[in-house]
């Protein structure tokens, strides 16, 4: 289609436009039901929920575009958060300044997440396990470790200013939220404008072609899973800031929300197709639904039903759009 013929039909084929329309429609609906929805406090909450979700959903997007799946991101959030919490408790007990201890906590959290991702990568490329199974293994192992290490309770006594950092400062964004927003943009450029993303798409589109074009497919896959884990690590630290403690249940079922966000965002589970902007909007839709339903007083369990409908609608509309392409 050339630019002169840019029309409404073309617009509707664009997943991002559809997502924006859905998002505004939802916001309008929730506001009409309860005008509280349109306040900074609610937006602040929505963004605070969005930040950790978009982090793991972006990792999941790279993984899914490469033709894989990462079921371990939720557990990686939990494990990295509590290891960071243990470390920061130790640092604080040894009179380290809050800021230094938070910085180290962040690095440790990223490191633990990356280790989970590296384990996934090695199980997939060296042990030849399919991604579904290898990340199922690390899902169980990491969540199990969370419970064992913490005996199920929160890990407190870290830096006392941690929770201040999760307060909205820039519109609905906290300072860490702004940093994550910046990171989202950078990762979007890496996905769509840089070689890292190009190889990811190529592998998911046709791994044989990627390999025979000289791409080191296994090494790239390890990098992708490590990135996914590292982003889960940042999300783990973010939950720590929000709660002020490390919780062994942080990120629980995060993998399902992440996959939902990716699918709603328009990526194909068979690989090779996806957009980071789609995932960012998909995540935003998910957290908006959750907050909105609570605010208009719908029982919390309906949330899952609505999310299920959104996923079905997204996949359905994807089918329609591909049909449209093929008929051209």
């Amino acid at each position: 289609m050339d630019k002169a013929k840019f029309n409404a039909k073309g617009l509707l084929r664009n997943q991002q436009v559809i997502l924006l329309v859905v998002l505004f429609a939802m916001a309008a609906f929730f506001t009409s039901q309860n005008s509280i929805f349109l306040t900074n406090a609610v937006f602040g909450n929505i963004i605070s929920d969005w930040v950790p979700l978009v982090l793991i959903a972006i990792g999941e997007t790279f993984v899914i575009i490469s033709g894989g799946i990462d079921l371990s991101v939720g557990s990686a959030v939990g494990l990295s958060g509590i290891i960071a919490a243990f470390s920061m408790r130790y640092f604080t007990a040894h009179n380290m300044t809050d800021n230094l201890s938070l910085t180290l906590g962040l690095l440790i959290s990223i490191g633990i997440g990356a280790v989970v991702g590296l384990v996934n990568g090695f199980l997939i490329t060296k042990a030849n396990m399919v991604p579904f199974v290898s990340t199922l293994v690390t899902l169980g192992a990491a969540r199990g470790l969370c419970i064992v290490l913490t005996a199920g309770g929160p890990i407190a006594d870290g830096p006392s200013n941690a929770i201040d950092l999760s307060v909205p400062k820039v519109g609905p964004f906290s300072y860490p939220g702004v940093a994550v927003l910046g990171l989202v943009i950078i990762l979007g450029l890496f996905m769509h404008k840089a070689r890292f993303g190009r190889y990811t798409f190529a592998i998911g589109s046709n791994a044989f072609a990627a390999r025979s074009a000289g791409i080191n497919v296994n090494r790239h896959l390890v990098k992708i899973y490590a990135l996914s884990g590292a982003l889960a690590g940042i999300a783990g630290m973010y939950f720590y800031l929000r709660l002020g403690v490390g919780s062994p249940t942080s990120g629980q079922s995060g993998e399902l929300n992440a996959i939902a966000a990716v699918v709603i965002g328009g990526a194909s589970l068979s690989g090779g197709v996806g957009k980071l902007l789609g995932t960012a909007l998909g995540s935003l839709i998910l957290v908006t639904v959750t907050s909105g339903l609570i605010i208009i007083g719908v029982a919390a369990n309906w949330n899952q039903v609505v999310v299920a409908i959104l996923i079905a609608a997204a996949v359905f509309s994807q089918g329609i759009r591909t049909l449209g392409k093929k008929n051209k």
């Binding site: 890496f190 404008k193 840089a194 998911g204 589109s205 044989f208 072609a209 025979s212 791409i215 090779g272």
Partner: protein, 252 residues
């Protein structure tokens, strides 16, 4: 036939997939400026030999020599770096990527400066060059930023051939390049083969269309059940004797 050292040579190559012996002690030589036809029935081992020569598979035993020096490919990347380009029988293109992204796959151009060091792509320049490369090869393709999945089977094949021809520096291996092509496009592919031959490349041409093989090759190697059963100048074959050799009606 020339007596100089072949640019590429396979000596006594065997390859087994589990209990299947796909190749047994196969020898093959390719000289510069020579087109070697590789023929045989379905399952004879042609693609397997191609994959050994291109580094996609490792032979179970045997040697390969490039310019007379022994080489061993652990990955396709190493063979590509050495100047060997391959068009595989199964699609070697990533359908979700654009034409130019496919042409440049694995050797992307980066923007200059620090962003380039971070891996940022010079997409405009690649779009332009891919278009020029394909045109130079004599292949008309639609806009190079179109996704390959939106091309016809023949156009895809053209992109894959263009990719191989524009990057090769020594050897071009074409595994059934005229598949999916109409008569006119198949004719274009044969022209391309003749041109790269005249530019001094060594070409391995695999096809089940024997008239094409007889038309464009200098020498024909025949595989049957994984064994080389004939390797002679094309002039010593006609379509009947070639078919007979392939099917085994004519013994060696």
């Amino acid at each position: 036939m020339t007596s100089q050292t072949p640019i590429y040579e396979a000596r006594n190559i065997s390859k087994s997939y589990g209990s299947v012996d796909a190749l047994v002690g196969v020898n093959l030589k390719i000289h510069a400026g020579e087109v070697v036809g590789l023929v045989g029935d379905n399952g004879a081992g042609k693609s397997t030999l191609v994959k050994c020569l291109s580094g996609a598979h490792q032979p179970t035993s045997g040697q390969m020599l490039l310019d007379g020096k022994e080489v061993e490919w652990k990955t396709p990347h190493e063979a590509i770096e050495a100047g060997i380009e391959t068009l595989y029988q199964e699609s070697g293109l990533a359908p979700d990527l654009s034409v130019s992204s496919n042409v440049f796959l694995g050797r992307e151009e980066l923007v200059k400066g620090p962003l380039g060091r971070l891996g940022f792509l010079a997409q405009k320049s690649m779009d332009k060059k891919a278009h020029e490369d394909l045109e130079r090869v004599g292949i008309a393709v639609p806009a190079s930023n179109r996704a390959v999945s939106q091309l016809s089977g023949g156009q895809r094949q053209a992109v894959a051939i263009g990719r191989a021809v524009s990057w090769a520096s020594k050897i071009i291996i074409l595994d059934e390049p005229t598949n999916h092509l109409g008569a006119r496009q198949a004719g274009e592919v044969l022209n391309i083969i003749e041109r790269v031959k005249s530019e001094g490349f060594g070409v391995i041409f695999i096809s089940h269309t024997l008239p094409h093989v007889l038309q464009v090759t200098d020498r024909v190697a025949v595989l049957r059940l994984g064994r080389l059963v004939a390797d002679k100048p094309t002039s010593e074959f006609n379509s009947e004797t070639l078919l007979g050799t392939i099917t085994g009606l004519i013994g060696e």
